[in-house]
Assembly symmetry: C2
Homo-oligomer: 213 residues x 2
DNA sequence: TCCTGTGAAATTCTTCACAGCC
DNA sequence: GGCTGTGAAGAATTTCACAGGA
């Protein structure tokens, strides 16, 4: 049952994260000129076990060679396809504050197929400026401009009290994926995926680790 | 078997994350003047089930009141203790680039008990400046200054190729917790906890969600 | 009646272990 | 010999469901 071209089967989120990890390491192996990689090597770089790697990959069919490992190029291409990275995604950033503008200038996104095509802010002093080569628009024109820019994904970097309003507007504008840096709980319509990055929460996990050693 | 004062039992990471979430919402309830909160309400704000909330909390003893719910203040205090937030943590940021300096100026940390006490960078043009009220030190004096500042947690915001070196030096300087923004795989000595925040990876999870709908 | 605390069941995720192929 | 693919076992986590206190 090999996955047919477009639609990719539903995978558990921890698995998706591992696949993304594997891809990262595979690309490093690829740059190093390695033709094949074994599940053990992938496991070592990613902090899992070889059995886990094989299980994760076997989910999509078998493209390893016994006794050898996986063909680096082939596996990279396959993972890109599974993760939807065989196309470019168009990103907008909402909120040109500290985090938003740091992200706008972050060069790492474009390199991985995520192109920032627009930035929005409510502050008239910021509107019209250019950040990282991208124009800052007034958030008033969010919906129309997002359609115009054909954005797929939005990065939400606004104060918590505005997050819900913007998220709702993003949903209406046809954005189906949001990377949320506000710490507010968001309610979004079905069909919109939200991933939250909460730095205070990450610090709290570390805090717990420190006291529970 | 109620947890005794200082040492807190080992909990699975997903549980810790949920506890942190609960705390966030509880604080909102507290500000709204709510004396008690039910597991159902906590579950709703956090996107889980009431049974999950009760299981998570019952792990530390029973401090809910049947028919009523949990005492807001009491539960806030308890969660703070479990998460190690009943004390202040001293944070250093290594790397005063885009992400590092955005974090240094981020007001949300101090508000939640994490105080940025020092910043380090290798660029002489940045050394000696002040970011968000905190001095930028030369990374050459990392070890001695970290001991001097009595830092508990380090935020690693350096280029990937330097991440391992710095992580090793942080370990030697007595830092037991690292929040890592570089995307390199880190090897750290036992006793050092690392949490990685990888924005490209988060975007890839969203990408996968978009193609697998 | 409302809501907690918790064994038991169900489900999900991970590891084991080995047959099979290069 | 080395390494994949995978059923089966095992572990961990989540959900169910209900007894019992406010």
């Amino acid at each position: 049952m090999p996955a047919s071209r477009a639609s990719v089967r539903k995978i558990a989120e921890p698995t998706v994260r591992r696949l993304s990890h594997y891809l990262r390491y595979l690309e490093a192996f690829e740059r190093a000129g390695r033709g094949t990689v074994s599940s053990g090597e992938l496991a070592h770089s990613g902090g899992t076990t070889s059995a886990q790697v094989r299980k994760d990959l076997s989910f999509f069919g078998s493209f390893g060679k016994r006794g050898l490992g996986y063909d680096t190029h082939e596996l990279v291409a396959k993972l890109r396809q599974i993760l939807g990275l065989d196309r470019a995604w168009r990103l907008v950033i909402v909120g040109a504050g500290k985090i938003g503008s740091a992200l706008a200038r972050h060069p790492g996104f474009r390199g991985r197929g995520f192109e920032v095509v627009g930035i929005f802010d409510a502050d008239p002093n910021r509107v019209g400026h250019v950040l990282g080569g991208v124009a800052v628009w007034d958030v008033k024109v969010l919906e129309s401009e997002i359609r115009h820019l054909r954005a797929d994904i939005a990065v939400l970097a606004v104060p918590p009290e505005e997050a819900q309003t913007i998220a709702t507007r993003l949903g209406r504008a046809g954005v189906h994926a949001i990377l949320d840096f506000s710490t507010a709980p968001l309610e979004v319509p079905a069909g919109v995926t939200v991933r939250s990055v909460d730095l205070a929460l990450e610090l709290e996990v570390l805090s717990h680790a420190l006291v529970s050693r």
